[in-house]
């Protein structure tokens, strides 16, 4: 009795509607604005400052914030703002790389388990649960302590390798519910192979969900990296927000009252991760009409 709307046109309407709600969603706009500002600081700051070595001793020690040194200096006379700018960049790199690697693993495992089902699902599920139960930080401690982490990239790699399980489970569940839908059946019947069905039919239909998962993995990677850095297992070269916190506590910034040394790095991490979470809630409201009324 009812006419079936042309699915292409339907998709376009959904997308236009999503955009309509997206630009009007305060949480999404504010969240992404904060992330963008910090991203710009991290991306452009080091270039504009023109300093390659943020750990150089450039001024007198323990200077409070001033026009010359916006965030003051450390006990050794390093400029905190220079370190902050470089550290923010490192933090974004760790988040993007670690979150990205975790997202790729989660998608491979989640799609395969959810779509194939059966024994493949059983085995992958078991594997996921094992990695899920092992406390991530403890493993990273052992790995980092023995192998020694020199670069941000290696740190991000190990974070990515350990933080994917919850996302894989979520993607598996979503795939599971899409697997039996008509358009997937149709694609399968028309002779598409598994990989193409997943890439062409299933993934696009949960793209918003995948994006939200990536955002959470991104934020999670930043937090794990900062903990590792703080314990003293961070990259030995360069500077990160976690390393700044570590140095500040190690060299008694607390007792000496050098608040300008330990407040900015933590605040930046909190702002990035918090803004990502809030933006994620906004995205959820945009893509999930049921939540829009609140």
């Amino acid at each position: 009795m009812t006419t079936i709307p042309d699915s292409l046109a339907d998709n376009r309407v959904v997308r236009r509607e999503a955009l309509h709600f997206a630009v009007r969603n305060g949480k999404l706009v504010i969240g992404f604005a904060i992330v963008l500002v910090l991203l710009l600081i991290g991306a452009l700051g080091p270039v504009l400052l023109g300093v390659d070595a943020p750990n150089e001793y450039v001024a007198g020690p323990m200077l409070p914030p001033s026009a010359e040194h916006w965030f003051g200096t450390t006990t050794f006379g390093q400029d905190v703002f220079t370190q902050f700018v470089h550290g923010t960049r490192t933090t974004f790199v760790v988040g993007a790389l670690g979150g990205g690697i975790a997202a790729v693993i989660a998608m491979v495992v989640g799609f395969t388990a959810g779509y194939r089902g059966g024994l493949v699902d059983e085995v992958l599920n078991m594997f996921t649960n094992i990695v899920l139960v092992i406390p991530t930080l403890a493993v990273l401690l052992i790995v980092n302590a023995y192998l020694g982490i020199r670069s941000v990239a290696v740190q991000a790699l190990f974070i990515g390798l350990t933080s994917w399980p919850w996302a894989a489970r979520a993607i598996r569940a979503q795939t599971f519910s899409l697997r039996t839908r008509d358009f997937v059946d149709l694609a399968r019947l028309s002779g598409m192979n598994t990989r193409r069905v997943i890439v062409r039919e299933i993934a696009p239909n949960m793209s918003s969900y995948l994006f939200m998962t990536f955002i959470l993995l991104f934020g999670g990677s930043i937090l794990i990296a900062s903990s590792l850095d703080f314990i003293g297992l961070g990259p030995t070269e360069g500077v990160s927000l976690g390393l700044m916190l570590q140095n500040a506590t190690q060299w008694s910034a607390l007792q000496l009252g050098l608040w300008w040394w330990f407040i900015p790095p933590g605040a930046a991490i909190t702002a990035i991760v918090g803004a990502l979470y809030v933006a994620n809630v906004g995205l959820d409201e945009v893509f999930n009409p049921k939540l829009r009324q609140r």
């Binding site: 009795m1 009812t2 006419t3 309509h20 009324q293």
Partner: protein
Amino acid sequence: MSLRVTELSVHYRTLRGEVRALDGVSFSMADGEILGLAGESGCGKTTLGKSLIRLDGRMRHAGGTVELDGRELPIADDRAMNAFRFHEVSLIPQYSMSALNPTRKIGRMAGELLRSRGVALDRETLEHRLALVGLDRDVLDRYPIELSGGMRQRTVMVISTLLDPSLLIADEVTSALDVSTQKSVARALLGFRDEGFVKSMLFITHDLALTSRIADTIMVMYAGRLAEKAPADVMVKAPRHPYTRLLINSLPEVGVRYTGERLSGIQGSPPSLLDPPPGCRFRDRCPLADDRCAEQPPAVEIEPDHFVACWKA
């Protein structure tokens, strides 16, 4: 007269404006009557069902009155309406399969619900009625997940009618079921009416064929308005509204085999209810439409109990 609905309008608030899902509908139901309410999705039938018991957050009562057993229902006042819910008006929802709290045993949940409405649970009556729909009393000691979809639906049916409401709204109760279960549900509903557990019943469905088997009267809606209302046999055999005729014609007749000819669907789609055009809403799809249809046709009683909203009827 059990239910009298007069010029009822209910709008949906959306970001683009008000959608006139229900736009001035009037009808009445007698005691003991089962009224089948049919139409395509978006015609306002579910909105009508909800308006009679509980408006959801986005719905706004835009005008008109509802009178049940001589008392006006305060449908716009959620709090005042509570006195009528369950006691006078009850509901078997579309989502009956998931309408029970998954972490409470069914008997306990029913007891808690009744107590919250100031009624003590009469276990004997409950078990008796469960038996009437073919359920063992031990479902009361089970969790919803332990029952099949059909069993859950029948349980909801029994719970919803425990207080012998005057009006029962059954919203698409059969659409998720297979044919044989559909029949048993329909039979159970008829039984409840015959036993007097419910006085009258509004049976909302998109399935005209099924409606004609259990309803006394059928009402067809189109784009938020009443199109035609007639006794069930008259509606099936001699529909007068062009929309109803097309609708009835598009049904596969029982026992007739369709070899060559295709089922004739209705071309086009209903107008947007965001800002509907004046006049008859079926005009654009109607084969008989002419200039007169630019004016809105009133629902006229052309024969006793047969109302049609069409200039051509």
